[in-house]
């Protein structure tokens, strides 16, 4: 039997990342698993704009101004760039604790809790931090084995803790968090403008053409118009509403997650410790702060003993691979206290090993055309840890 030299492609770190994300282009692109709604978003935007460029633009360029299609193209490119940037980038995923760190934290907790009598439930795992004269509770994440930083939350759809977690948006097929919130906001803002723009110029086009040929003939000549008007009409209600909602959140420096939970609603004199009490400052912090780099080293090459990362320019052809959700089993020697439960949402009998979080799904709200204040068609599924 002859020995065969197999040159193996280096294993990159994204292939071994836990969590339920999909990776493309050899780790450069990161998305959630369910991408169906994202494809729908793409189809609606590209489809509607194509119809606009095909039917309305030639007429309007000639009869009104060539600047109209030019501006539409620029706006379309901006919308697509923002959408792809939101969908493909790392939202701010916090990597799970390595075994030594997890052990260290476990021992700190044990030491703090003192002796727990047999049969008694151990106290909840919470750290109290004072931020701007406000006590903020940091919860322990049983899946990631870390105390979540302030404003971080665990997304049960992606099975990751995300920093400054806003919500999981199926329309962009990714979580919205610290790193991609501004792209998401710019996407909704530019999409609102694009939708209003197309809608307005559709009306203008129909009016101008009807003057010459009559209304029915106009619709026969440009059948795309009807479709565009329908799509734009329904989209405007939801997307403009969503943009307004996020503008409100930004001015208060709040996340959708905090807003829905009512974390800073003012009850019991609880105030938002992250707000600068100044709308301009809040907007600047959210939109103009430096771009935070990803702490997930997706493209680092894994060594056999999976020690320090090295970046190498391996000639890897872009492959479409989905990550194997390797649930991180901690080879910890520290005894984990059995029957740990979460402080508020008690789910008894959760084993100490790999935690499978159950989520209470808040149903997806489709953009209803009749309600003018239809807000976020966003699914906020948070694991009730």
């Amino acid at each position: 039997m002859s020995a065969v030299m197999i040159i193996r492609k280096p294993t990159r770190k994204w292939e071994k990342l836990p969590g339920k994300n999909t990776f493309c282009c050899d780790g450069r692109v990161m998305m959630a698993r369910q991408k169906g709604v994202f494809y729908l978003t793409l189809f609606l935007i590209v489809g509607t704009c194509s119809l606009f460029f095909a039917f309305e633009c030639p007429y309007l360029a000639v009869h009104l101004s060539p600047a109209i299609p030019v501006f539409a193209v620029l706006l379309f490119i901006f919308v697509m760039a923002m959408l792809l940037r939101t969908s493909f980038s790392d939202p701010g995923v916090l990597p799970r604790a390595l075994p030594e760190e997890a052990n260290f934290i476990e021992m700190e907790i044990e030491a703090a809790n003192g002796n727990v009598l047999a049969g008694q439930r151990p106290p909840p795992r919470i750290k109290n931090v004072q931020i701007n004269n406000q006590i903020v509770k940091l919860k322990y994440c049983y899946t990631c084995k870390i105390f979540r930083p302030p404003r971080a939350s665990h997304c049960s759809i992606c099975d990751n803790c995300v920093d400054r977690f806003d919500h999981h948006c199926p329309w962009v097929g990714n979580c919205v968090g610290k790193r991609n919130y501004r792209y998401f906001y710019l996407f909704t803002l530019s999409l609102s403008l694009l939708t209003i723009y197309i809608f307005a110029f559709n009306i203008v086009h129909v009016v101008l053409r009807s003057v010459d040929s009559g209304f029915v003939n106009t619709l026969k000549e440009t059948p795309g118009t009807v479709l565009e008007v329908l799509v734009c009409f329904f989209t405007i209600w939801s997307v403009v509403g969503l943009t307004g909602f996020h503008t409100y959140l930004i001015s208060l420096n709040q996340t959708t997650n905090e807003d829905i939970k009512g974390s800073w609603s003012g009850k019991n004199r609880v105030q938002n410790p992250y707000s600068h009490k100044n709308i301009i400052k809040n907007c600047c912090e959210v939109l103009c702060s430096p771009t935070f780099p990803s702490v997930l080293d997706r493209r680092g090459v894994m060594l056999e003993d999976s020690s320090s990362p090295t970046h190498s320019d391996a000639s890897a052809a872009s492959t479409h691979k989905s990550s194997n959700p390797v649930s991180q089993t901690t080879k910890s020697s520290a005894p984990l206290i059995p029957n740990e439960h979460t402080p508020d949402e008690a789910k008894p009998g959760i084993g100490a090993g790999t935690q499978k979080s159950t989520s209470s799904p808040k149903g997806e709200k489709p953009p209803s055309p009749t309600s003018p204040n239809a807000v976020a068609p966003a699914v906020i599924k948070e694991s009730t840890h």
Binding site: I77, F78, A81, M82, R85, L94, P95, A97, L98, E100, E101, N103, F104, I105, M107, E108, I109, A111, A112, K127, N128, V129, Q130, I131, N132, V136, L138, I146, P149, P150, R151, R164, Y183, L186, P273, Y274, C284, E285, L287, C288, S289, P290, T291, F292, P293, V295, L296, D297, S308, P309, S333, A334
Partner: protein
């Protein structure tokens, strides 16, 4: 009683890992990246307090500079927005530049100060910016058990 090592190579080859200490984040100033400067008890016999605190202060300064919201960050943000963020495909952000500086600083500190004392700092970016991991090595000649005992510290952050 400090174990003597001469350089990082020697540390890696002849030493065995005894334990690790984790310096946690300090969230008192909101969500900016800042690490607690409290001196861990495990390092008491290994390194002078002032050296350690100096390293940590410098690291905190670097991070504060990276996250500063000022003229440069506005300019970078506006320019990037105007190009639909395509410019980030070719340009390195200010934060990334400072992270490189931090990486070099940590390496320099390891070579000059920590390795000779049998310690090794890990860049926080490799641990998700959550902790600074300090590995404590023992000379492989000595009989050291990999004790993972740490002094009981309160879990309520100060």
């Amino acid at each position: 009683m400090a174990t003597e090592f001469h350089n990082l190579q020697e540390l890696r080859h002849s030493a065995s890992l005894a334990t690790k200490v984790f310096i946690q984040r300090d969230y008192r100033d909101s969500t900016i990246c800042k690490f607690q400067t409290k001196f861990p008890a495990e390092l008491d016999s290994r390194i002078e307090r002032s050296l350690f605190e100096e390293t940590l202060k410098t690291l905190n300064c670097y991070y504060a500079e990276a996250e500063k919201i000022g003229g440069q960050s506005y300019l970078e943000g506006c320019l990037a927005c105007a190009t639909a963020y395509i410019i980030f495909l070719c340009m390195e952000t200010r934060y990334e530049k400072i992270l490189k500086k931090i990486s070099m600083y940590i390496q320099e500190q390891n070579e000059k100060i920590y390795a000779p004392r049998g310690l090794l700092l890990t860049d926080p970016i490799e641990r998700g910016m959550r902790v600074i991991e300090i590995s404590i090595f023992e000379d492989s000649g000595s009989t050291s058990s990999s004790s993972s005992g740490s002094s009981p510290s309160s879990s309520t952050a100060q």
